[in-house]
Amino acid sequence: MNKLWIDERYCKGCLICVDVCPKKALKASPEINSKGYILPVEKDMKRCKSCGLCEVMCPDFAIAIEKAEG
């Protein structure tokens, strides 16, 4: 299963990644972080096909998808 990495120092919670994901593998976090941002979290990473659209469209270079081996 692919793994989602969010750099919490860089992410500003615009949630573009949640919207553009074609498989809807991400969702907005229910919690607000210490900076006041709502970060994206994993919803169902089994659906992730690692197309990389979230990485391409991220304005803050905060998201990365680690491909599962094999």
Partner: protein, 279 residues
């Protein structure tokens, strides 16, 4: 921990401490355009078409001006308002091997730098101009710009804008640019392909990227991107009517003579004459 693949091209640490996160507001289109540009540049570097030290990034003033020298781990220059293209012309004349990318905003290109812009297109200098058009002056407080569409509310047009907007793509096309295209931040793959095409093109490549300003347009970035997808139409699909939508796509793709090549002829001519005198 895996990190974003394009962070290898950015300066995360500076002499005065960390430079990241980017200065832009949450969901700003400038960060997205930077990301698309780095993807295009990364592909060219990996295909060994252009060497990393041959890239030069130049920007003017405005939100778009903050992209280059603050964050990019390439040769870059942060120049005066509207004059990024003048600096690019000088850099190109000094070193024709440079692959120059100019980041400008709509105020930078359309208003204060308008003359530099049309004359750069007229000379057809070998630069790739990326114009981040958000339709207002974002950094100074959301005032109306020459590119603000009719009927938009901004801080200086509270009763809606009455002036017609500038069509920068048509201006570039008529002024003589080799390659003209318009996309939005909601079209990532098209923007990346267009930037690669522009960098490969000899001559001026003008790519206007409609970008969102969530702070002054007072909407969420996700809604603004959906609006871009809804309110734009491809040139190929708009033969009968545009339905009042904004045209996107490639406006022209010509092979015109590049400015530096014509100058090289004069230089060669003088070199030949000098050789004759020496004999």
């Amino acid at each position: 921990m895996k990190r974003h693949p394009m962070l290898k091209y950015l300066k995360e640490e500076g002499p005065l401490g960390p430079r990241m996160p980017l200065i832009f507001c949450p969901g700003c289109g400038s960060g997205q355009v930077l990301n698309y540009t780095l993807h295009a540049v990364d592909k060219l570097i990996e295909e060994d078409e252009v060497r990393r030290e041959n890239f030069l990034f130049i920007s003017g003033i405005g939100c778009s001006g903050r992209i280059t020298s603050h964050y990019l781990n390439f040769d870059s220059a942060w120049t005066i308002h509207g004059r990024a293209l003048a600096v690019a012309t000088g850099a190109l004349l000094a070193n024709p091997a440079f692959k120059i990318v100019v980041f400008t905003g709509d105020g930078d290109t359309g208003s204060i730098g308008g003359n530099h812009f049309i004359h750069a297109c007229r000379r057809n200098i070998d630069v790739t101009i990326l114009c981040l058009n958000n339709g207002l002056y974002g950094m100074t407080g959301g005032q109306h710009a020459p590119t603000t569409p009719i009927g938009t509310i901004t801080t200086t047009t509270p009763y809606r804008n009455r002036e017609a907007a500038f069509d920068l793509c048509k201006l570039a096309e008529i002024a003589g640019a080799s390659y003209v295209a318009r996309w939005t931040t909601a079209h990532p793959q098209q923007v990346i392909k267009s930037i690669m095409k522009g960098l490969r093109k000899k001559g001026t490549a003008f790519i206007e990227i409609l970008s969102q300003c969530p702070v002054h347009e007072k909407k969420t970035p996700v809604d603004l991107l959906k609006g871009f997808r809804r309110n734009t139409i491809r040139i190929s699909k708009s033969k009968e009517s545009t339905d009042g939508k904004t045209l996107i796509g490639e406006f022209c793709d010509l092979d015109r003579r590049e400015w530096n090549e014509s100058y090289q002829e004069i230089i060669d001519q003088f070199v030949m004459e000098n050789d004759k005198i020496d004999e």
